[in-house]
Amino acid sequence: MLLLALLWIFTPLAFAQPPAGMADQRAKSVTQVVLGILSYARWPVEPAQLRLCIVGPTQYTDDLVKGTTQATGRPVVVQRLLADHPDIANACDAVYIGQLTSDERSRLFASLIGHPVLSISEGGDQCTVGSLFCLRVADEQVSFEVNLDSVARSGVRIHPSVLQLSRRRAPGS
């Protein structure tokens, strides 16, 4: 049984001045949520630079691919990889998963088993399969679910604040 929690995130841009474009705004919101999740994640061995891999075709990563630096000063290196890349588990600390076939997804998650890799799915419908976080992107809000089962198995520790928030929001959503 998977423990699911839903967290609604209201993006700051939703209340800001007229946005430059809907896609732009979504991309920025997605970037903020992804970086937020990354900031609350702890790996068994902290990497000197955080390698974020984008796998498969995605809609909201235009902003994310530019790469950034975390508040701690650790750089976040973003690279695009193919779904059948042979060594995703070792080449990435975090994976942003776009549109994949179920076969590709099964293979990807199988290769990640036993490796501390934080996975975020762009589509919310696949969250039961094995991804730690699943985004639900809307115009006004970017929400995400947490698959606590997968989190427990992955070996990546997620700060309780995030989990507590999601658990708190679960009955309401």
Partner: protein
Amino acid sequence: MNIDTGPVRPTLRSVIGRGHLSLALMAVSMASISLTLLGVLALRVYADHNLHLIARSINYTVEAAVVFNDSAAATEALAVIASEEEVAEAEVFNVDGKQLAHWERPETGMLSMIELQLAHALLEQPITQPILHQGQVIGSVHLTGHGGSLLRFLLSGLAGILVCTALSAWVALYLARRLLRGITGPLHSLASVAHAARSERAFDRRVPPAKIAELDSLGNDFNALLDELEAWQTHLQSENETLAHQASHDSLTGLPNRAFFEGRLIRALRSAAKLNEKVAVLFLDSDRFKDINDNYGHAAGDAVLVAVASRIRAQLREQDLVARLGGDEFAILLSPLHRLEDAQRIAGKIIASMDAPIALPGDTHVLTSLSIGIAIYPDHGATPGNLLNAADAAMYQAKRLSQGGQQTAESESPAANVQHRS
């Protein structure tokens, strides 16, 4: 003692009471005001510290919500903490300065207004604390405290001041009253003794010892003064008595003089007239006094007078009066008198008492005799002068008829009732 003088002077009681009261009130108010001030200062530090702690705990709680820009989560977390704490208003801003969450304590009436004003006046607020995530500022918390505990402290301090003031005022008045008893008691006895000495000449009263040294010494001095006054008064009295005695008595025989006799006679006649009684006046004269004076000297004459006086005195009752009118003349007042015969009997006894010789200085003796005239009130005169004249006349008649005899004054009939010595 109650003398109304123009300005109303405060009593010792009011002076002491007011002194105690003002001292106590000043002490209490100074102590309580300084304590309250210190307490407010200390409480202010703690309230400030507390506000910062609340801000920090809000910080930790809303951190994730701010990271994910979750306004609803931040609002909920804020409300959970702020409603439990002494917070009037709390706000969470993200790094762009946009308000993510806002919480405000619902109005609860007058008291909360006062609390807010108090907190506003005493605390440095609103306080702002940055929200940090991974060492980076991601937003800020703004907190405004409400002075609930400050108000409670001030109110209880005020109540304490009131209670302490009332208590110490009571104690001060009690102590003043006790002190007053120690002071006014001795003063009262001093005043009453002084008053008695002044108005009644009661110099025998003394001030009792007092507990307070100064009052005791005052009382002692006063007592010493009274001692002196008493001694002086006694001395004066005895002096006066001596003088009065000297003025009304004959220094040789010790008998009253003529003035004294006349005074007594006037009183006796007045009393007799009122009570319808009789009074007898006897006029006595020594028959051989001039001879004795010439033959034996004045010292012998004096001795004869003294002897005669004491012999006359010995024949009389206690209430009867014998006086030396001058020279060898004596007068006797018998009051009250029942019958004429009583006066004649007494005159006889006096004449008989002269039978014994009188010892003179120089081992010689001499014999003398008395002639006595008797006048009775109201039979022989109604006024002292008339009575004395009647008695005098009777005495001369007796002397003429026979020396050493007695003669009763003639009233209506000139018939003389002469008795001679047997």
